[in-house]
């Protein structure tokens, strides 16, 4: 698609890298050279943000003994990594894969529904007029700004009342309700889609649904990616909702599974017996749990910037 989110959201989203370059560059460099403090602070925060991640990666390659006695930032051995992998995958018979599979199932199913729901809704809010439009838009904004943990216990009460506790839909459907996605779609369509284009389609005899399907939807690729990105990350990293709603370990997503593993680490819970999980195995599990999100991050930095800013702007 030629339209990318940057242009689409340009007046709303000041995307990184639009600052005009100029002669002041040299001046600034000179200034920085005189005062090393800013560079030092920035570097210090790189250490703060990145070092723990680096440490986590390395921890998965060590034995517990190396973890305690070795250099924290040294590589353990492939052999130890292999041993950790074997021990982790043996835990409760492949539980880690089951959890990862559950996470994937919940996140992707919710992603599909979210897109199918949010894109038409955002389109309708932006491009059509109907009764209650403004009310719906305001409700969307309010719910979008509320932390999603707010509704977890109430949701439990509701799902319990309709006897859906333990069903995968008790997770997927609440995940699919994603007002932020609707808002992003609304912003996108109201800024990027020329109204004239829609009018032309209508004059040519398109039904309203036809205009949406033939004109708006083909132009919606950037917003599909953007909403998909945020929905996936939010759902994959959600802990509270599945923790409360899912009773059985074999239904847990990997985030909740990590908590189960944690309970069996003897250093954190001295009462565990022969079920013991070693700390490097927990580190490896954490690493596996975050890999999908990390990969998505690496490949969609641009969405991320545009989306985070669009989430809050209409100037």
């Amino acid at each position: 698609m030629p339209t990318d989110t940057r242009t689409a959201l340009s007046h709303a989203a000041p995307v990184a890298g639009t600052r005009p370059p100029g002669g002041e560059r040299t001046r600034r460099r000179g200034h920085l050279a005189r005062n090393p403090l800013p560079a030092l602070v920035l570097a210090l925060f790189v250490v703060f943000f990145v070092l723990p991640v680096l440490w986590l990666v390395l921890a998965a390659t060590k034995t517990d003994d190396q973890l305690v006695h070795g250099n924290p930032l040294s590589f353990g051995s492939w052999h130890a990594l292999r041993a950790n992998w074997d021990a982790l995958t043996a835990y409760q018979g492949d539980a880690i894969f089951l959890w990862l599979r559950n996470s994937a199932l919940y996140s992707f199913a919710a992603l599909v529904i979210t897109l199918a729901v949010a894109v038409p809704a955002g389109y309708a809010l932006a491009m059509t007029e109907f009764r209650g439009r403004r009310t719906l838009l305001i409700a969307t904004l309010v719910v979008m700004l509320m932390p999603n943990a707010t509704l977890v216990v109430p949701l439990f009460l509701e799902i319990n009342a309709v006897h859906l506790i333990g069903s995968m839909w008790s997770i997927i459907l609440p995940y699919s309700f994603y007002p932020f996605g609707v808002y992003l779609a609304y912003i996108y369509f109201s800024t990027a889609l020329p109204r004239d284009l829609m009018d032309a389609a209508r004059l040519d005899g398109c039904s309203e649904f036809g205009a949406f399907r033939r004109v708006a939807l083909p132009l919606a690729a950037p917003i599909v990616a953007l909403v998909g990105f945020f929905s996936f990350v939010a759902n994959w990293t959600n802990y509270f909702l599945p923790y409360v709603l899912l009773p059985e370990s074999n239904q847990f997503p990997v985030q909740v599974g990590l908590g189960t593993l944690l309970d069996d680490v003897p250093q954190f819970n001295p009462t565990v017996g022969n079920l013991a999980v070693q700390r490097p195995e927990l580190a490896l599990a954490t690493l596996l749990a975050i890999t999908p999100v990390l990969v998505v991050f690496l490949f969609s930095q641009r969405f991320l910037v545009a989306g985070m800013l669009a989430g809050a702007t209409k100037e």
């Binding site: 000041p14 639009t18 790189v46 719910v143 943990a149 009460l157 509270f240």
Partner: protein
């Protein structure tokens, strides 16, 4: 909601909105509306219903709220969350704004972009993963920063997670995972400030500090408010960090630390869903009021 309509510069569509015939709009939003009702409205109504009734479904007035308030864990939980919010919001405002300003002054754009990405990486560990990482980082026996912990006089995990330290530790975790995203936002907002303005200030003799203090920070104000509001609302919902920490310390630290945990324990330990719902409703009201006030007053969102 009149304030929401004031900010319409650059949004010409509102004047050109030609009503389309028919009711297709309803068709497009039907599925979303269904989800909004099922997972937004109904749970809210349901929680309110539970909060004002007793176990047999009879109206019970405010007695569930009174039960919650009398609980010995209730006031401490509010205190914990409040203290955590103070640290968390202060850290967010000071460091996010500070780092964004520094990044914005960097002459090498590639470096600035790379740093923003590096700062953002821990965002991928949101949720339980970040707590796992910090459990390790805070354990002097395995931490890569053990020299720091020992220098501060802490030799065991138990000493590090002493109750008095928890607000700071939760702030660390939340800042580590969340600050990068806000830095991206603030940086973008800084980019939005007209270059002429900065240039004019420089010609008038303003240094970096003066420019930041008198021009950039005032113009960032509404973004800072936005960040604080969202972080405040999110912070009141504290759950995963203390919950996992209490697991990792066998209940020594972090148990019933926050209101959400208390609500959870009322529902699942005491089988008292009514009191659980009462606490949930209180949290819900905070979230709702903050969000609604912000939408109505900030002029941040243009809801035509």
């Amino acid at each position: 909601m009149s304030a929401a309509t004031t900010n319409q510069a650059g949004a010409p569509r509102s004047t050109r909105r030609a009503p389309w015939p028919g009711r297709a709009g309803h068709g497009f939003v039907a599925a979303y509306l269904l989800l909004l009702i099922a997972f937004g409205v109904v749970p809210t109504v349901y929680a309110v219903y539970f909060a004002f009734t007793d176990g047999d479904g009879g109206f019970s007035g405010l007695s569930n709220f009174a039960t919650a308030a009398r609980d010995f864990r209730y006031l401490p939980a509010i205190g914990h969350v409040a203290l955590y919010l103070v640290f968390w919001l202060a850290a967010l405002v000071i460091f996010v704004v500070g780092l964004s300003l520094l990044l914005h002054r960097l002459s090498a754009r590639g470096v600035s972009r790379a740093l923003r990405f590096l700062y953002y990486i821990p965002g991928a560990l949101a949720g339980a993963a970040s707590v796992m990482v910090w459990l390790f980082l805070l354990d002097p026996t395995v931490s890569p920063a053990s020299f720091l912990l020992r220098a501060l006089g802490y030799d065991t995990f138990g000493q590090v997670i002493a109750p008095g330290h928890l607000p700071i530790l939760f702030t660390l975790i939340a800042f580590w995972t969340g600050a990068g995203g806000w830095i991206v936002v603030m940086y973008g907002a800084l980019n939005n400030i007209p270059h002429d303005l900065i240039e004019a200030a420089r010609i008038d003799g303003a240094g970096a500090w003066q420019t930041a203090r008198r021009i950039q920070i005032p113009l960032l104000r509404k973004w800072i408010v936005y960040m604080v509001i969202l972080a405040f609302a999110g912070g009141t919902q504290l759950f995963v960090e203390p919950q996992l920490l209490s697991q990792a310390s066998v209940g020594v630290a972090g148990r019933d630390y926050s209101l959400n945990q208390l609500s959870y324990d009322f529902a699942f330990q005491n089988n008292d869903v009514n009191t659980a719902a009462a606490i949930s409703v209180e949290l819900l009201v905070v979230g709702l009021v903050v969000a609604a006030l912000f939408v109505a007053r900030s002029g941040f969102f243009d809801a035509d």
